[in-house]
């Protein structure tokens, strides 16, 4: 760190790190300098001229833009003298020359930096009497964003964001001089996963988001800070509602996680909350086999009686639970306690057969923090395409590679969003990951360059399962290898909202709350409180589904889980649910899975319950309540508590906050993590450490080749899919890419098909029809099929599929 310097701002001496931008130093010391183009998370450009200040120089006073001027020792600055004031008035008068006076119909009015700063610093009157420039009023530049070029003041915040931060510069300044406008290429819309950020940082009403346009006035909004639950990054958000309806989500600048940015899925994926399809009343299957609305008492009696019969007939181990990764830690804890103490089973899984070993996920030794990316010498990303599954983590890795000089090695079966910033990109055939790992470990030949990059520590490795064609063991073997790299830390990847919190609450056969393993002292302490813990070891998701199919497991409790759409082998889940003697579902919607249940309880969800979540690095964050749940819906923990009572067990849970206190008391690592702290001084969250210290085991992962006549399958998730939350969000639903068979040009030529032609993709467990997409980023012999798209069947986690024209 450089020596601090002393600067005099408005006759007051302040200290600042050398090289810091003057505008920031002033702001940190209570002097606000007006600005439009400068944004603390982007590089300065000095375009809008609003931040002009006067500094003393040997040649007399000089006017400079404070956003491009680094502070130096002895600098004397005046931010409000008459000269500066005149400059500010002049700049604003010029900016307003072409700005329409349509504030009364503008969404930004009331929270508009141009409006506010005109009031505070403007001349009050314009001398401009000529005609303003005119453009067609708002034009859609994507499905989500509208652009009103007349309102634009050309600050370049949006274009710089899309180039510097998200790396998809689909908007740029076009034309010149008085005709300059921001626009897209004529036939290439601003279809960025991060487009909503440009709306949030636009200092005028030029960019507006279709899901929010004309829905509310800023002064009518009620808001609360919370945490996004679409992915596991733990992005901090501001929920905003009017008249009890969630209307908008803005990103909150939280240093450890999202740094102000959000993906569009997070920003706009809230419409499902108010969907008319939400469940409002408990449902029970009647004699005719139809789900019928009943009272809570009736539904609880029915479920309690049926579950009790299974338990008394076949024991608790005949019951299994799936889900819990969509809710809060408090709900997950209640689910874990319900299954283990009221039912008596260890068969529970919050992962949908999609991830890695839970001990690796939440307890790996040398676990990385997201912030480690800031100091990383090199980064290895070998897992899902971060842009699709961990969007804000993608932005952090991108920043590390682009702005902070970290070397980046990306290993993935097809092109990823990070490729343009990667020092080395390795593309390979799914199933052959074991061989690629051996090559990388040897570091010879084509991998020499990758090893060279990774020799620069500290190394941060983001490891996960690239697709369902790849063995989940590969990530563990890679983690074992990574530990030999200099100062290596490992961030295991799992995407589901609160999967790390659910694992911490024991929603996994082998783990108990607080990352405790069965048979340990911590487990005994838990037993003192919970009563005797079930002795038999439990099954994971796949084991549960297979058990249901074979009849070893008779009853299933689903909490916010849709295995039919969500596990790689959807057909197995469908057979399992059809064969189950009893399925009890706690859900917000009738999904393909809860539709097959015998009892369905309507659950409250995001923005309706208060609680905590734990993100990918083990950071506990608060989620807050802003809107009421629909109809008779209730929180998961309350439903489970009542159901336990019908089984004759008292879970002793009275409120979410009380559950949080119980967790704090029972789970060592959660000690000191409480709502008061998370609501006030620790809004950025508290990292719970005290990991299991799980040492990843290296195992040789055998390569799996597709059978003769088959192509290797890359079967991976996309940001927008046919999950129920996306399906019920009208703005995002059309953005799912849909079923597709991505083929390398040589394979397309071999099959005699071109872009858009229909092909049949058949695996041992399912088949689907898909349009061909020519994708030269694949290796020849590989077909990429996006997972869980509207109107498609499931292919299962198979190494290969048959593709025929």
């Amino acid at each position: 760190m450089t020596e601090p310097v002393t600067v005099t701002i408005n006759r007051r001496q302040v200290n600042a790190p050398a090289g810091e931008l003057l505008i920031k130093t002033a702001q940190d010391n209570g002097v606000y300098i007006p600005r439009f183009c400068w944004h603390p998370r982007m590089n300065p450009v000095g375009m809008c001229r609003m931040c002009l200040v006067e500094i003393e120089t040997p040649r007399g006073p000089l006017m400079v833009t404070s956003c491009t001027t680094p502070v130096s020792d002895g600098m004397t600055v005046d931010t409000a003298n008459p000269t500066v004031k005149k400059a500010q008035e002049g700049v604003l008068e010029f900016l307003l020359i072409n700005h329409p006076l349509d504030c009364p119909v503008c969404d930004r009015a009331g929270e508009c930096p141009l409006q506010d700063q005109t009031m505070a610093y403007g001349p009050g009157e314009s001398r401009f009497v000529e005609e303003k420039r005119h453009f067609e009023k708002p034009i859609p530049i994507s499905e989500l964003v509208m652009l009103d070029r007349e309102r634009c003041i050309l600050c370049a915040r949006c274009t710089r964001f899309s180039e510097e931060i998200s790396g998809d510069p689909l908007i740029e300044f076009q034309e010149r001089g008085n005709y300059t406008e921001v626009n897209t290429f004529p036939d290439e819309p601003f279809r960025s996963y991060f487009s909503g950020n440009t709306v949030q940082i636009c200092p005028v009403g030029a960019l507006t988001a279709t899901p929010y346009r004309f829905r509310a006035r800023p002064w009518d909004l009620t808001f609360v800070e919370s945490t996004c639950q679409h992915c596991s990054s733990g992005d901090r958000i501001n929920l905003q509602s009017s008249q009890n309806r969630l209307l908008r989500i803005l990103g909150v600048d939280s240093e450890p996680t999202n740094q102000g940015w959000l993906s569009d899925k997070c920003r706009f994926g809230f419409e499902y909350v108010a969907s008319p399809a939400r469940l409002t009343s408990p449902l029970v299957r009647d004699e005719e086999g139809e789900l019928r609305e009943v009272s809570w008492g009736e539904a609880l009696d029915y479920a309690g009686k049926a579950l009790g019969e299974v338990i008394s007939r076949s024991g608790g181990r005949a019951v299994a639970g799936l889900g819990g990764a969509r809710g809060t830690n408090e709900d997950a804890y209640a689910f874990s306690k319900f299954l283990r103490s009221a039912v008596g089973t260890n068969s529970v899984d919050c992962q949908m057969d999609d991830g890695l070993d839970p001990r690796l996920l939440s307890g790996v030794v040398d676990r990385a923090r997201i912030a480690d990316l800031e100091n990383a010498g090199s980064i290895l990303v070998w897992g899902p395409d971060l842009k699709e599954e961990h969007p804000t983590l993608y932005l952090r890795v991108r920043r590390a590679a682009q702005e902070l000089g970290a070397g980046l090695v990306v290993v993935h079966p097809r092109g990823t969003g990070l490729d343009d910033r990667a020092s080395v990109k390795v593309t390979y055939q799914p199933g052959s990951g074991g061989e690629v790992l051996s090559e990388l470990m040897d570091g010879n030949g084509r991998m020499a360059e990758a090893r060279e990059v990774l020799s620069k520590g500290p190394v941060v490795a983001l490891l996960g399962r690239p697709g369902y064609g790849e063995s989940p063991d590969l990530a563990e073997a890679t983690a074992a290898f990574v530990r030999s790299l200099p100062d290596a830390t490992i961030l295991p990847l799992a995407r589901r909202g609160n999967v790390f919190g659910a694992l911490d609450m024991g929603l996994s056969p082998a783990l108990l709350p607080g990352r405790a393993q069965r048979g340990t002292l911590a487990a005994q302490m838990l037993a003192d409180r919970w009563g005797e813990l079930p002795a038999a070891s439990g099954r994971d998701c796949r084991g549960i589904l297979e058990g249901l199919e074979s009849g070893d497991i008779e009853a299933l409790v689903l909490v916010g889980a849709d295995p039919v759409r969500d596990v790689p082998d959807g057909e197995l889940a469908r057979r399992a649910l059809a064969n189950a003697g009893l399925v009890v579902a706690i859900d917000q919607f009738l999904t393909d899975s809860s539709r097959m249940a015998d009892v369905v309880f309507p659950a409250m969800g995001f923005s309706e319950v208060e609680g905590t979540v734990t993100n990918i690095e083990g950071r506990v964050l608060k989620v807050n309540r802003l809107t009421p749940g629909p109809g008779q819906s209730r929180p998961d923990w309350a439903i489970l508590s009542d159901l336990a009572a019908r089984l004759g067990a008292d879970l002793g849970l009275v409120s979410a906050q009380q559950i949080s206190e119980e967790v704090e008391e029972l789970a060592d690592i959660y000690r000191g993590v409480n709502w008061e702290r998370l609501d006030w001084e620790d809004r950025d969250g508290i990292v719970v450490s005290g990991d299991l210290g799980y040492v990843p085991v290296f195992s040789h992962v055998a390569s799996v080749s597709p059978r003769p006549g088959e192509m290797a399958l890359h079967y991976a998730r996309t940001m927008y899919d046919d999950g129920v939350m996306m399906r019920e969000s009208p703005s995002l639903r059309p953005l799912a890419p849909g079923s597709g068979a991505h083929l390398h040009p040589t394979d397309a030529a071999r099959l005699g098909v071109g872009e858009g032609d229909s092909v049949d993709v058949t695996s041992s467990s399912g088949s689907l029809q898909a349009g061909v997409v020519i994708d030269p980023t694949l290796e020849p012999g590989v077909v990429y099929v996006p997972f869980n798209q509207p109107d498609t069947a499931s292919l299962g986690s198979v190494p290969g599929v048959r593709v025929s024209a």
């Binding site: 689909l170 740029e172 626009n183 290429f185 390795v426 980023t777």
Partner: protein, 219 residues
């Protein structure tokens, strides 16, 4: 970035254009620096700068089409609308203006019946007014298909337009036009050399993009 993967296939431009493009890209340390000469290549390939041309350039230099269009739309010499066969550019900057370029431009517009910025219905003649073309010593100056003619008058401008209409030359060669219609020159152009013509893409000269005389460019 080092890419470890099998080579892929490309579609779009002619093979020779593609070869020339990669040569041009190779002359710069960063591919994106080649965007301006490549835009001329795109103009040569399709006659003017089409959306398709900009997309091709984008994929060649690793930019998005929007970024390429940002460059292309900033500079007026990248023609995004198909100009007529003869593009008459009349300089209206200060030296030319002081020596009567307004009359020259008016004469051209009047004789050709084409307003500056437009093209006649036959797509034979386009007229535009441009900023300084570096011929102040021979003001007022015009260019036809980027070939310079100095010392114009309103009368010679009318003759020039009539000549283009009737003679419809295969290629415009500056020295020839200068002899027919030009007046005072800024300096001695040296001996007449038909092969020196660069055609409509002046920036190709120093890059060696144009290998032969202008007439070969159309074929």
């Amino acid at each position: 970035m080092v890419e470890i993967r099998s080579p892929s296939v490309r579609r779009g431009w002619s093979e020779s254009a593609r070869a020339r493009a990669s040569e041009i890209v190779g002359q710069y340390p960063e591919p994106r620096s080649a965007v301006m000469p490549l835009l001329y290549l795109a103009m040569a390939e399709e006659g003017y700068l089409t959306d398709n041309g900009m997309r091709e350039v984008a994929s060649l230099v690793g930019l998005t089409p929007a970024q390429v269009r940002a460059v292309a739309s900033f500079y007026t010499m990248y023609k995004r609308d198909d100009p007529g066969r003869y593009l008459i550019s009349c300089c209206t900057s200060i030296s030319c203006m002081l020596l009567g370029s307004d009359e020259v431009l008016r004469a051209i517009e009047d004789e050709s019946d084409v307003t500056a910025g437009e093209t006649d219905p036959e797509e034979l003649i386009s007229v535009e007014h441009v900023e300084c073309i570096g011929a102040c010593g021979g003001a007022p100056a015009v260019t036809v298909n980027y070939e310079l003619i100095e010392g114009m008058t309103a009368e010679s401008a009318r003759e020039l337009v009539r000549w283009l209409r009737t003679a419809r030359p295969e290629a415009i060669v500056g020295a020839e036009c200068q002899e027919l219609f030009g007046g005072r020159r800024s300096f001695d152009w040296g001996p007449f050399d038909r092969d020196s013509a660069l055609g409509p893409y002046p920036a190709f000269g120093p890059l060696g993009t144009v290998s032969g005389p202008a007439e070969d460019q159309d074929g």
